[in-house]
């Protein structure tokens, strides 16, 4: 990079920081008390803001240059479109050992790390499955669902209520939760079949809200906002575990479920059904005109995504031993969607990476407690600006062609 461009960046950053300082001036500097009629001026904040935004802007411009140069280089054909990270992960020589290592780490994790680490890893794994489930609906079939958390709630409450009223165990409820999830997926799917794009998004958002509001208000059914506590942890043949043992146990259940989900989604993606979803996403009319039953394809996508969410809901209820409507807000849906988009739509690996990033990042930033959400929001913007297609780009299967066949 030439010196002139660095200078230019410095200049631009200076302007940006001045502008941001001006913009944030009243809010950062002034605090008023309208009752006591007093005003506090905190001029030091302005200096912090100036310096901070200058550094940030510099970084921003540097990254922007990099991004633009990257685009230029790609276009000139000097480098491949796939990201460096993606290429490493696709290299067959590296993939196997990496996978093996990953599996090994995953297998011994609870014995090596503390219960806290295991616990948040379970959360992350839950979100991996949720992400993969939503990936079916949004990433593959292209149906933007902003109320996905409703299905998560269905599963969680299914387990909580069945456990409370009928003392049904985790393993009994798990398949029931899956069925209920599928049912609710269809229930939502039917009315919204005709809707497209953003209208679909807002209706699913509404549906998510309705489910939460009903759980909140229908006290005789769901115990309202105070929630249901003392939900049984999963047991095995009547053995009762301590919290730590149970956490380990749930961890392995989740690990198995994650592997199962990856297996299922990967297979579906490269199947007749997966192709029909892709076609649906690309062009609904052509899709139907080519003999694909859009209704069926959409319902299937909804139902499958919902099933996975519902199963995760049951695991979630078993893990926290407590559910209340506060866990199923719109922000939760947004978070799962962010996992899918941030990771890279349609890419299984991307979703896993996205889930780990979005769930573990705030956890590990606990040290910054009050600032972590601020940083989190900024990170979301930065990742999208500098990698809009997500961290990992989805790869399509290359088919083996049997040329001899007639």
């Amino acid at each position: 990079m030439a010196a002139s461009s660095i200078l230019n960046n410095l200049k631009k950053s200076a302007i940006a920081s001045l502008w941001l300082a001006f913009l944030t001036l009243p809010i950062m500097v002034i605090r008023v008390d309208t009752v006591e009629k007093t005003v506090t001026w905190r001029w030091m904040h302005l200096a912090y803001m100036l310096a901070g935004s200058f550094v940030l802007a510099l970084f921003w411009h540097f990254m922007m240059d990099r991004r633009d140069r990257g685009a230029a280089a790609r276009a000139a054909g000097t480098s491949q479109a796939a990201s460096a990270l993606g290429r490493v992960l696709e290299n067959p020589k590296l993939v196997k050992p990496l996978l093996a290592m990953g599996f090994l780490v995953a297998a011994v994790f609870p014995y090596v790390f503390s219960m806290y680490q295991t616990n948040i890893l379970i959360s992350a794994l839950i979100y991996v499955v949720l992400g993969l489930g939503l990936n079916i609906t949004v990433g593959l079939a292209g149906l933007l669902d902003l109320g996905y958390v409703a299905f998560y709630a269905v599963g969680a409450y299914a387990y909580a209520l069945l456990n409370m009223h009928f003392q049904l165990g985790f393993w009994t409820v798990l398949p029931l939760a899956a069925i209920m999830g599928a049912f609710f997926g269809l229930l939502l799917g039917f009315p919204v079949l005709r809707l497209r794009g953003d209208y679909l998004a807002i209706v699913t958002l509404g549906f998510g809200q309705i489910v939460r509001l009903v759980l909140e208000n229908w006290s005789s059914f769901s115990q309202g906002p105070s929630g249901i506590s003392n939900i049984a942890r999963p047991g095995l043949f009547g053995i009762n575990y301590s919290v730590e043992q149970a956490t380990t146990y749930i961890y392995y259940i989740m690990l198995a479920l994650v592997i199962l989900t990856i297996f299922i989604t990967a297979r579906l993606k490269d199947s007749r059904i997966g192709r029909s979803w892709l076609a649906l996403r690309e062009d609904e009319i052509a899709c139907q005109a080519m003999g694909i039953d859009n209704t069926k394809a959409k319902l299937m996508a909804f139902a499958l995504g919902a099933t996975l969410a519902s199963v995760m809901g049951a695991v979630f209820a078993a893990k926290t031993t407590f559910v209340n409507p506060a866990s199923f807000t719109f922000m939760e849906s947004a978070m799962i969607l962010a996992i899918v988009v941030l990771g890279g739509m349609g890419s299984v690996l991307g979703v896993i990476l996205g889930a780990f990033l979005l769930i573990l990042l705030p956890e590990y930033m606990r040290a910054f407690s009050e600032y972590r959400m601020l940083i989190f929001g900024a990170t979301m913007i930065l990742v999208m600006v500098f990698r809009p297609q997500g961290l990992i780009r989805a790869k399509r299967k290359v088919y083996k062609i049997n040329t001899e066949a007639a």
Partner: protein, 391 residues
């Protein structure tokens, strides 16, 4: 190729660092003592007080005052040389009042070998976290979780609180309305929240059991709404001569204001979430005459006055919700540790149940179930811009 990959990783790491750097910078400007409290760790002996609750997100205003309270108490004790020579360290743990984050916070605290925790703020989060603490023998004391079953169910012997629970509050408010205000028809309104609805349901039950006054209306409102005129009209149409409100002050002040705008001037009785100076500030003149139940904080309570002054000095502002309770809880926990001479679970529990402490909410110790004894419970009324004791 490897080099490129490294570049990517470095890039991401740098992004993180810069973001963090910026955050850190801002952190310094606001609360240097927070950083110091956690950073100045490697003293030989220390007592770690975990503070869990909503420290970010939309309910942060209920969690951050507790953190401040804990910091103030810790600072004061440390200034006096600590507990038996050990410095007190405050470890904040955010849960945003979400159950799953609460379990994460709990396991984190357990992993860090913390033995006493101030928190959590919301009953739901508390319920989710308690089993983990229980298993690890961690003593938890909440300044604000009022769900009845937390103590009364007997499920959580490790749980204590410095606030009285829904059943008592709701009943007290209902009895006050019936016996003192002689109301006949009551509109019971709540904010659909954990706390508010618990209060409202207890109040409703007390009214129905009492058979003196009728419940004319029982409904929830949406917190954060722009307008409550519909519910106000409905209260009016129901012919109620008293409103019992369960919830926090923001909605309470909106409702009271709109009631008065619509010419509805009946008694308004609410809970501890409303017994907060912010309520009087936000509702202004409309706050006049509103009743709220709450633990008795005598105006001449020296501890409270001192805590208030300390807060002003330290943070430059008036404390927020549940500050006195959190202050009391911090004091009680640390005092118990001091009296027990160690952080041994049984000893500390015994100390909590035996030793009285002078706190902003009165001179308290804890009963076998974990509720504070000595928290006297009273009804206050706003009179010329201040809460004054009625009963």
């Amino acid at each position: 190729m490897k080099a490129r990959w490294m570049m990517t990783v470095l890039g991401v790491a740098m992004a993180g660092m810069l973001a963090v750097g910026c955050g850190g910078e801002k952190k310094e400007e606001k609360k240097p003592e927070a950083a110091n409290a956690t950073a100045a760790a490697p003293a030989a002996k220390k007592v770690v007080l975990g503070v869990a609750g909503a420290q970010s997100g939309d309910l942060a205003s209920y969690g951050l005052p507790s953190l401040n309270a804990a910091k103030l108490v810790a600072k004061e004790i440390n200034a006096k040389g600590g507990i038996n020579g050990a410095q007190v360290e405050v470890m904040p743990m955010d849960d945003q009042c979400k159950p799953e984050l609460a379990t994460n916070a709990a396991t984190k605290l357990v992993s860090e070998k913390v033995t006493i925790v101030l928190g959590h703020i919301c009953s739901g989060a508390t319920k989710a976290a308690l089993p983990i603490y229980k298993d690890a023998k961690v003593i938890v004391m909440s300044p604000s979780a009022t769900s009845t079953e937390l103590t009364q169910s007997g499920n959580y012997p490790n749980f204590f609180r410095t606030i009285s629970y829904d059943l008592i509050q709701g009943k007290a408010a209902a009895e006050f309305a019936v016996n003192e205000l002689k109301v006949k028809k009551v509109a019971v309104i709540h904010d659909k929240g954990d706390y508010g609805k618990g209060f409202a349901e207890s109040a409703k039950k007390a009214l129905e059991d009492g058979k003196v006054a009728k419940v004319a209306l029982f409904e929830g409102i949406t917190p954060g709404g722009v307008d409550y005129s519909a519910i106000v009209q409905k209260i009016k149409a129901s012919g109620a001569d008293c409103v019992l409100y369960g919830g926090y002050h923001p909605e309470a002040s909106k409702i009271v204001t709109q009631m008065h705008k619509k010419g509805l001037k009946i008694a308004f009785v609410s809970d501890d979430g409303v017994k907060d100076d912010t309520f009087i500030k936000t509702a202004g003149a409309d706050a006049e005459g509103v009743y709220a139940t709450g633990p008795q904080i005598l105006a001449d309570n020296e501890v409270y006055k001192k805590a208030l002054a300390d807060h002003e000095k330290e943070f430059g502002s008036k404390p927020g919700a549940f500050f006195p309770q959190a202050y009391a809880a911090s004091q009680a926990l640390l005092n118990a540790v001091a009296k027990a001479g160690s952080t041994d679970y049984d000893k500390v529990v015994a100390a909590l149940q035996k030793e009285y402490v002078e706190t902003p909410v009165g001179k308290i110790k804890f009963d076998a179930k974990g509720d504070a004894e000595g928290v006297s419970f009273s009804v206050y009324q706003v009179k010329s811009g201040k809460y004054e004791l009625v009963k």
